[in-house]
Amino acid sequence: MNGPRGLSPFNVASLALGLAFLYLPIVILMIYSFNASRLVTVWGGWSLRWYQEFFQDRAMIEAGWMSLRVGATSATIATLLGTLAAVALSRGEGFKGRTLFSGMLYAPLVMPEVITGLSLLLLFVAVNAERGFWTVTIAHTTLTMCFVAVVVQSRLTSLDRSLEEAAMDLGCSPARAFLAVTLPLIAPAIAAGWMLAFTLSLDDLVIASFTTGPGSATLPIRIYSEVRLGVKPEINAICTLVIALISMVIVVASLATKLSGAQRETAAPL
């Protein structure tokens, strides 16, 4: 046979089955979001009726707006803190407790969300914080910060230390050298970290439901409570919009990571 081998019929079949398993439910949901019928399971022809309904549903719009605000704010704070943590951990070579601290930073990655949510709730109750926008934002920052730190740290460790030294040699104070050389080079990783944090916050139901208060439900909470009363086709429309938003963010984030990877090759010595 000439050239690279193509897929065998078996490969094609298994790929198709795997993809169907992953995406069929979502595709069905998206198709049914354009259903004219009031009943979720009965096809009544194409319509944008439920999208209209959603845009007139004040409570749902507010929940969506709340989610976007929480996502953007917590992602920004998490990016700031996560980047600082990554810089500190990748720089302190002589620092004895470095392994311990990186371990502690990454622990939330594998911590069950119920535990994170519950512990944060206990904390907020203990300090008597009024639950609402800020408690959810702080909780999401806690959740997403370690993801940002992981992304930024991997970029930083691949960066040549002598670049910063060269900047200092050429007249930059250490802080200036970081801003003029390191920051532009890790910017794609920081952007990818932000988008990752944003989508994680948008997705989260468990931690948000622990830490939110009356009148400040996020979109997942709102959807979940609606569904418990019976699935309205409007939910399908909302979910389709959320899927569209998240896939957009993921595409941008992966493009940013790719860009950062291309620069990594440049930054490597020779």
Binding site: D169, L170, A180, T266
Partner: protein, 366 residues
């Protein structure tokens, strides 16, 4: 007053003494090389001059002022990094202009200086390229231009040519010397390549295990090394251990284990020990079929050793021979191939006489 004075500088990493009591003066306009095997502390010493490391003991004086606590960006010293450390997100022009912008120069001045530097290292037409799209030699030039742009009092070069291939390295060595002479700057280069150090530098400091063993001109280092270690590190050498038997008329007679009695010139500073090594560079060892030429014998006593050729390596300009002496020891000789057709070339297993004069030998005490 030297431009740079290093006084008993010590740098420790944990319990390891990377630089162990180095004292050194470097004068303005000098091309100085720090030579040593990897891990000898030469790069650490250079990094202390640049300000990336601080000495644990001792002082570093630049123009008579202690710069131990002066941060890298406040020193009138620039460094060219081993891997060049070009900023990948900036163009060639912006890389060169980087240090000038920090110095607060006016835009027109920066443009003029960048153009001057680009012309100096012959990079015309590449100003807008990113480092990624340059060859190794071009990157090296950008790094050089960038480190020279601020007109430092002293330029530090950390293995600047290690990444280039042999031909390019040789031509770049001459360009570096040219540049240094033309600009009248002080260059301090760190290298593990003794040929490179001998080519470019006016003076060489040989370092080993954190200590500065000898500071000398290339010729002195090669012809009069202070120790066995330096003799072996700089170039090839034949070494014979022995005891001093007699000394008369500035000649020492040394009984060696492997080469019998050798007559050598007595060093000017004298010899204190009786157990010494005799060092002879391979190119000082002449071979012949019969014996030394009569006029060589007439002028002075000759060391004459017989043996069998066991190895011949033709290297183009030189041919090196290994001669197994009757004691079993190996003596190396190298001869310039001055004629294109050499009917006198020696063959394997041929019996020859190897000879050298007392002045060709060097007595080493350590």
């Amino acid at each position: 007053m030297p431009l740079l004075r290093i006084e008993r500088v010590v740098k420790r990493f944990g319990t390891f003494r990377a630089v162990d009591g180095v004292s050194l003066d470097i004068h303005a306009g000098e091309f100085f090389a720090l030579l040593g095997p990897s891990g000898c502390g030469k790069t650490t010493l250079l990094r202390m001059l640049a300000g990336f490391e601080g000495p644990d003991e001792g002082r570093i004086l630049l123009n008579g002022k202690d710069i131990a606590n002066v941060l890298p960006h406040e020193r009138p010293v620039n460094m060219m990094f081993q891997n060049y450390a070009l900023f990948p997100h900036l163009s060639v022009r912006d890389n060169i202009a980087f240090g000038l912008k920090r110095a607060g120069m006016a835009r027109s001045e920066i443009d003029a200086r960048v153009a001057e530097m680009v012309a100096l290292v012959k990079l015309e037409g590449l100003e807008k390229r990113k480092p990624d799209n340059l060859s190794g030699g071009q990157k090296q030039r950008v790094a050089l231009a960038r480190s020279l742009a601020r007109r430092p009092q002293m330029l530090l070069l950390d293995e600047p040519l290690a990444a280039l291939d042999k031909k390019l390295r040789e031509s770049t060595q001459f360009e570096l010397m040219e540049l240094q002479r033309r600009l009248g700057l002080t260059f301090v280069i760190v290298t593990h390549d003794q040929e490179e150090a001998m080519t470019v530098a006016g003076r060489i400091g040989v370092m080993d295990s954190g200590r500065l063993d000898q500071v000398a001109s290339p010729r002195e280092l090669y012809e009069a090394p202070h120790s066995r270690w330096i003799a072996e590190f700089v170039g090839d050498v034949n070494l014979f251990d022995g005891e001093i038997e007699a000394r008369e008329h500035h000649r020492l007679t040394i009984a060696t284990r492997d080469a019998g009695m050798l007559v050598v010139a007595e060093p000017r500073q004298g010899v204190r020990k009786t157990t010494v090594s005799v060092a002879i560079r391979p190119e000082k060892v002449k071979l012949s079929r019969l014996g030394p030429a009569p006029d060589a014998i007439a002028s002075q006593p000759i060391n004459r050793l017989e043996g069998i050729i066991t190895d011949v390596s033709y290297l183009g300009a030189l041919t090196t021979y290994k001669v197994r002496l009757d004691s079993g020891a190996i003596l190396r000789s190298s001869m310039a191939n001055t004629a294109r057709i050499d009917i006198d070339a020696y063959n394997l297993s041929q019996r020859v006489v190897a000879w050298f004069t007392p002045d060709d030998c060097l007595v080493l005490e350590q």
